[in-house]
């Protein structure tokens, strides 16, 4: 198949697609293309749109390729879609999403333990907007639902895939936590907690056992830390 012919076919596919088009999908449609040809043609198209100053561009998003308008035309196209676009996400929604993105698959109680607030409403909103989905149930006590991000999540934030997100550690560095200090105290703290776990809970506000109970359950989010570790491979750790 000639390069020009393949380029035209791929362009037609991109034009007629309603979602990011994956390489695998394009290969299955054009089995005659030699390996690497489609990628080459895609690069070609992207460059052509760029140099010919088209009003649109070819972007890699959500594990696929999709045509997008250029940023310069944002104001005009916004007018076209006025009143028909979903609202921006709330801070609560973004916080929850970032926890799910980095810790998935993750239970609601883990999310709440990190955020320190009730998160059911936010989860419902995110599910409704297809930014997350139920990935199944955890093997922990009560078999709670576990959540993960979706392809729509990638598309919404213009990400190629999850590795397009910065490592979670980068945010720590950006905040100026000296890495060694952070790690050192983390290690010390957790060791202490293990050693003194039982005693610590007993020493405390006299006569306030009711509050104690509340505090403890709110902090632990109703699960033991060990359990959490066993079923949630931390993304950050994987990449570190």
């Amino acid at each position: 198949m000639k390069h020009e012919e393949l380029r035209a076919i791929v362009e037609a596919l991109l034009f007629a697609s309603d979602a990011p088009l994956t390489l695998a999908k394009m290969r299955s449609i054009v089995p005659g293309a030699a390996p690497g040809d489609i990628e080459e043609v895609l690069d070609d198209l992207a460059q052509e749109y760029e140099t010919a100053e088209h009003s649109f561009q070819l972007l890699r998003v959500a594990k696929g390729y999709q045509l997008y308008t250029r940023r310069e035309f944002a104001d005009w196209v916004t007018k076209l879609y006025r009143g028909r676009r979903p609202a921006r996400l709330s801070r609560a929604a973004l916080e929850t999403l970032s926890i799910i993105a980095y810790r998935q698959p993750v239970t609601r109680s883990t999310i709440e333990a990190i955020r320190g607030v009730e998160s059911q409403t936010v989860l419902s909103t995110l599910l409704e907007r297809s930014l997350i989905r139920v990935a199944g149930r955890s093997s922990g006590v009560g078999r709670p639902l576990i959540y993960e991000t979706t392809g729509e999540f990638l598309r919404y934030f213009g990400l190629r895939d999850l590795s397009d997100l910065p490592e979670i550690g980068e945010f720590e560095r950006a905040l100026g936590v000296r890495q060694e200090e952070g790690i050192a105290s983390t290690v010390r703290l957790s060791r202490d907690m293990v050693q003194h776990g039982d005693e610590t809970e007993q020493v405390s506000l006299p006569g306030g056992s009711g509050i104690e109970e509340e505090v403890r359950s709110a902090r632990q989010g109703g699960e033991s830390p060990g359990e959490r570790e066993s079923r949630e491979p931390s993304r950050a750790d994987d990449r570190a």
Partner: protein, 286 residues
């Protein structure tokens, strides 16, 4: 319109902060602290009976408020002066109570935690337990850990917000697909009841179009199986309703449907849809 709302919210937040940053002289004195502890204690007990319905919107949660206080006071997060922070935290809650905002239970739980830590910091290190520990545990340890963890994700959320803003300026080309069949969405296999529901729709539609004929040619299920496989081979995938385009009698519809069920059962064909009640699409299993 949205932007204006956001501006408004930000303005509110700022004005609240300004009020909070200037505690009146009376507030700084010690006895207010005990008074607020008393109110909080009562509030906590009320809170456990009926959960406060309205969420505090100004801060995302108690950890967010604590981080704000840490930042405002330029405090080293690893060495938080807990008495000062606890007092400022309570001042905020008082302020919110004064403004008649309902304070979410999570904020009260944190207030209790802060007070517990404060008390433990005041107590001499447990002398009665004669175990000579090299390093007695810092009562703030767990809270610091929690704050650091939360701060990381808060920052990550900020990054997502930035991406959201950038991506909102780009509009994707989105063809509408053909005959209501979405192209690129992830589709899931449908069950028997979905198929039966779709069949019901087809029968209703044919009845309305008055295409029922009495008599007509009989077809066997086997023939229908061949027809379906042939059509799928040429078209790749077809809409469930398209199966019945040529059908004119109830017998033909039923034969076609049974043929489909047989193909699905033997895993030669899969029926999928993007989401519940969307068009059902048939595909050959390769």
């Amino acid at each position: 319109m949205y932007d204006r709302e956001q501006d408004h919210a930000m303005h509110d937040e700022e004005s609240l902060m300004t009020v909070g940053e200037e505690p009146t002289p009376a507030d700084v004195k010690g006895d207010v602290n005990t008074a607020s502890a008393q109110t909080l204690y009562t509030a906590i007990h009320m809170g456990s009976e009926r959960l406060p319905p309205v969420k505090l919107e100004i801060f995302e949660g108690p950890l967010d408020l604590l981080l704000h206080l840490v930042r405002k006071n330029e405090i080293d997060i690893f060495d938080i002066p807990i008495a000062t922070i606890a007092q400022q935290y309570l001042e905020y809650l008082q302020l919110l109570a004064m403004l008649d905002l309902t304070i979410a239970g999570d904020f009260l739980v944190m207030a209790a935690t802060l007070m517990r830590i404060k008390v433990r910091m005041l107590l001499p290190p447990s002398v009665d337990e004669e175990e000579e520990e090299e390093e007695p545990e810092d009562p703030r340890a767990e809270l610091v850990q929690q704050l650091l963890e939360y701060r990381k994700f808060k920052e990550a959320a900020g990054h997502l917000a930035g991406r959201e803003e950038e991506t909102r300026e780009l509009f994707p080309r989105r063809a509408t697909g053909v005959e209501g069949v979405p192209l690129g969405e992830e589709r899931e296999p449908v069950g028997l009841f979905d198929l039966l529901g779709a069949l019901q729709e087809v029968i209703k539609r044919l009845a309305a179009e008055d295409r029922y004929q009495v008599g007509g040619e009989d077809v066997s299920v086997e023939e229908c199986i061949e027809v379906i496989v042939d059509r799928l081979r040429t078209a790749g995938e077809i809409a469930f309703t398209a199966l019945f385009d040529a059908a004119t009698t109830r017998r033909q519809i039923i034969a076609m449907f049974l043929a489909l069920l047989e193909l699905v059962r033997s895993r030669k064909v899969v029926a999928v849809q993007a989401r519940s009640f969307d068009a059902i699409v048939l595909q050959l299993v390769s």
